[in-house]
């Protein structure tokens, strides 16, 4: 496969940035999108140019490091995949592919396609924890969790914090991410101690980070590599309302 890439290049936080065109030649359709970028980068290094910087780590869709806007879609075309799980067979020969970083005020671009997602870390720090008893190890199965509840909590816990929800949202809202965390801990008995303060603090931190407000377009759910459902957003709203009472 031969492709034309239109890639966002930005030296650092303060650089204005611009699109630069590259051609990717002899790409195997079985390569992942990141492997394709690796090939392009090898060529760039050979030519003495700076390679395209992008976040990546596990390359099997579980770490949440990689993420870029590919042809206007978070993690590119396809459902339920991170950029590392996107294969070049999803594109046609001679396609032009536009590659941009996540765009949100709360995710400033650090370099090229790499964005600063520490705003997510700060939201987690504000309430994404549970009180744990120190001392002896509790007996196995001493805390009973009904299976449907455990399943629902696990669905929320599948969030890898990649930021695709923010990137895909027309309002750059972080509601799907925050709701996944609030929902997971609100469902489980271990999360009850901080149940009310958690939702209030995490929403307050989310607002302080200047993420937009949710307008229920559900673009986040469609682009989430882990298929996190917007029912968790409904649960966050419910938790937030009851926490006021």
């Amino acid at each position: 496969m031969n492709l034309t890439l239109k890639v966002w290049r930005q030296k650092d936080k303060n650089d204005e940035g611009r699109f630069i065109e590259y051609s990717a030649k002899n790409i195997s359709p079985d390569m992942s999108f990141l492997e394709m970028l690796d090939i392009v980068n090898i060529d760039l290094v050979k030519k003495g140019e700076t390679p395209i910087v992008f976040d990546h780590d596990c390359r099997e869709g579980i770490c949440g490091s990689c993420g870029m806007m590919i042809n206007g879609r978070a993690h590119g075309p396809g459902r339920g995949i991170a950029t590392c799980q996107l294969h070049m067979r999803s594109f046609a020969d001679d396609d032009e592919i536009v590659i941009e970083p996540w765009r949100a005020k709360s995710f400033p671009v650090l370099k090229d396609l790499m964005v600063d997602r520490t705003s997510f870390e700060r939201i987690m720090r504000s309430g994404g924890y549970t009180s744990a008893k120190t001392g002896g190890i509790p007996d196995g199965n001493s805390i009973l969790v009904p299976k449907p509840v455990a399943d629902e909590a696990f669905d929320a816990a599948a969030c890898i914090g990649c930021g695709a929800c923010v990137a895909a949202c027309p309002n750059s809202s972080a509601m799907l991410f925050v709701s996944a965390k609030v929902s997971q801990l609100a469902l489980l008995p271990q999360g009850q101690a901080e149940r009310e303060t958690r939702v209030q603090r995490m929403v307050a931190q989310m607002d302080e980070e200047k993420f937009g407000s949710c307008s229920n377009t559900y673009a986040c759910e469609a682009e989430c590599p882990k298929g996190i459902s917007v029912v968790h957003i409904a649960r966050l709203n419910r938790e937030y309302i009851t926490a006021q009472l």
Binding site: K6, W8, F19, M69, N71, G72, R73, V98, E100, R103, A104, K105, S106, A168, P170, N171, S172, S173, M175, V203, A204, M206, D207, K210, F211, G212, S213, C214, S215, N216, T217, Y218, A219, A222, E223, V230, V231, I233, A234, R235, L236, N237, R238, E239, Y240, I241, Q244
Partner: protein, 224 residues
Amino acid sequence: MNPFFKFINSSVGKKILMSLTGMLLSIFLVEHLAGNLLLLKNDSGEAFNAYAKFMGGNPIVRTMEIGLLGIILLHIFNGIRLWLENRGARDKKYDSYQLSENTTLQSRMMKLSAALFLWFLIVHMRTFWFHARILGEHDIASLVYSTFQQLWYVVFYLGSLVVVGFHLRHGFQSAFQTLGLRTKKYQSLIDFIAVLFWFVIPAGFAFITIFIYLYKGNAVALAQ
């Protein structure tokens, strides 16, 4: 800060304000349609005029009318605030952004449908409400009948009702999602009730408009 203001100024609180005001306005549409049905009666508008007189004279209804205006203004200004803040949350726009692949047309058109809705509302109130409440005219039914003999007016109304339907298509289910009520269990029930609001009610208004255009020409001629 006062806990209420803290709540209402949070991202979730602003959405809840949007949701509650939107729901109240939707309920008003039910009353409005019920009243308008009187226009279909074959009594030269007598029943409708009696209803209009009651609505204009009853102090409780007049107070509710002021409340309604307040709710409309809250809905509009809170919406503008959310729009501006949300726009600011993305400082640099995407070069390529395929939002249409993941969202409904109605959800993307909320701001446009809101603006058109407001324009319609102003024209609508100038045409009827202004005559009834400000000029104090009594035969509102005849005013309605004669107004809808003009084809361009009928077309404008029908177009506006499509806009109303569009706005409610996204807005109605959105209001329930914001209140946390759109759970897996109630999703289908809410979507069913939503059809009444985004389709049946606007279609009801449209039916009355077309009915008057087609069959109430005689009433106008008789009155003259």
